[in-house]
Symmetry: C2
Subunit: 353 residues, 2 copies
């Protein structure tokens, strides 16, 4: 892409590679960690009942209703909450709010692969704290000179969770840094660090509606932390796009947050399915991590991951394969419904046995 | 905001000031140029009929359906179209796609006030081409050394439009620059430069659903231009947030674009109301520009704009007042329904006579 009108930045940047969203046929789609269950029916009703006249008006740039619902769920004040267009946007804004060009950010080698794209885009120096050989995190490895540390908890694509005590230990030993805990998968068995935001002013907890809350389509992410951190995120948003959330996202997102029973019911079903599938896969020769997420991260004792990935695709099942050192013999398989997972197990049986 | 975790950028930036969205009482809201009419009823039906099961899935990051509908409307290919979360996001991404730190961008002194915020945020050098005393544009004034030129057409908050010939003249004389034409208000009487995108590779036309298409709530903006420019915007989007549009925006936005008759009907009603109100205001001692937008830009021969603004607010009518040199005795009044504008005229009569 050489063209005198294009910025050097755009010519150089290598964008994030997202899981494919094919339209050629109907797949069992286990490649982007979406929820197999629809969102709260109460939230869907909210969408269907929005009066037509509301649509002509700008959405509320303060997202008051949504922040209050999140605040009620976590028992925190709205001024400790920032909401954005998916957690990706919240993370991108965090780079602008907390890092200047040339500052250092540290994260593991195996983690959400968008961080390295942000570091490149915003010209931030990336420090890598490699995972241990068993994919566990090297807690001491974060003690390097940097301005921000990002930890995905549970980690992706490994699914391994840190305990709240381990997270607090990292915060305590890294007061020179802001710790961003990306909790995209926290509701499937981890413990949220949101409990610590009043105790530490160097902690920002980021969550999303795209996984546990079944609303990947609506684009809602949020951050929770000290009001000074939240204010900085608002300044960035109001300098880029004050209305990143639409009215439907604000209203339906609030109702989904209020509908707690449904949320817990779906999370518990996914956890139960995950544990069952894990045992079934072990019988077929798969080993994996102790995932606390809505996916399994597995490899096989005989057949290569890439081969399994390709054969599953032919069978109409999409999972995620990363052609990346250390994990290129692993598959990340999102947890679907029990019916979907039974088909996956059967197809895998045919492929590996 | 002094805090060791906050970036210098976030400490320094002065965000955009958006029109107030008060919740204290019901206003006649003529301060953010929203459309007084609801969006296409066909588009609203699309929203109400989206199956619940769709919501759990990520939206289509390529926004194929929406791009095709826009392409059909303008008779251009989808690879010449970029869509984003409102035209603000499209403009912010354009800064990243076409300008590096220290590059120069030129625009008028009186125009959409977000450009100067972007220039500050992305550390781009801002050159100003002042409007003439009658608020007309100084066409020769853009011939300065810069990488990008931004023109709002019709201009805001003046409402004055450039003809297609004038736009083409600027493009011809500024081949060293990319010309971004922000056409937020083009459908109320201007002529779109989209006709020129095949002829010139240094033209990007930006439009929005927030004004003429009555969908400010949904957050849809789009850009049209040479595929190389569009590809650069996609690279930036995929390095920040690949899914900035939600499924509802994609589907309802596509249907609104397909429902042409309704769109033209609403635009024509607004134009007719604007011309009628302009004449009524002249009888009350107001003068203004020849607005081709969905707002009037007026001052009064006796009463100061700020006083009128404040008195209207007390009367339950919100208009926009800019406390800025050259225009601080003007009001920008969005065009509402005929019924709303009749109330405004009556209240103004009480204030100025």
């Amino acid at each position: 892409m050489e063209n005198k009108y294009i910025s050097k930045r755009a010519q150089k940047i290598v964008p994030y590679t997202y899981g494919e969203q094919p339209k050629d046929k109907k797949y069992i789609k286990l490649n982007t960690n979406e929820n197999p269950y629809p969102p709260s029916p109460r939230a869907v009703e909210v969408i269907r009942n929005i009066p037509a006249d509301i649509y002509k008006l700008y959405s509320d740039p303060s997202c008051k209703e949504l922040k209050e619902a999140i605040g009620d769920f976590y028992n925190i004040d709205a001024n400790k909450i920032f909401v954005g267009n998916g957690s990706d946007e919240v993370l991108a804004f965090s780079y602008l709010a907390f890092l200047d060009k040339g500052d250092k950010v540290i994260y593991p080698d195996i983690t959400y692969s968008f961080y390295t794209v942000y570091s490149s885009l915003y010209e931030v120096e990336e420090l890598i704290n490699p995972l241990n050989d068993d994919f566990s995190m090297n807690l001491q490895g974060f003690n390097q000179d940097a301005k921000v540390c990002i930890i995905t908890n549970p980690n992706a694509p490994t699914g391994i969770a840190l305990s709240l005590e381990e997270i607090e230990g990292i915060i305590e030993k890294n007061k020179d840094k802001l710790l961003i805990v990306d909790e995209a998968y926290i509701d499937f068995g981890g413990e949220s660090a949101v409990k610590l935001i009043d105790k530490y002013d160097n902690l920002l907890v980021v969550q999303t509606y795209s996984k546990s809350r079944s609303f990947a389509s609506l684009r809602i992410g949020f951050a929770m932390g000290n009001p000074i951190l939240i204010e900085a995120l608002h300044k960035i948003k109001d300098s880029i796009n004050p209305y990143t959330l639409d009215t439907i996202g604000i209203k339906a997102g609030a109702e989904a947050m209020r509908h707690k029973e449904y949320f817990y019911e779906c999370c518990n079903k996914i956890i139960a399915t995950r544990e069952r599938v894990k045992k079934e896969l072990a019988k077929l020769g798969f080993q994996g991590t102790d995932s606390k997420s809505n996916f399994l991260f597995v490899n096989h004792n005989k057949v290569e991951a890439k081969e399994i990935f390709e054969k599953l695709r032919v069978e109409g099942i999409l999972v995620r394969y990363f052609n990346k050192a250390k994990i290129n013999n692993y598959l990340r398989i999102s947890i679907g419904t029990d019916e979907e997972m039974d088909i996956v197990i059967e197809k895998l049986r045919g492929i590996v046995l």
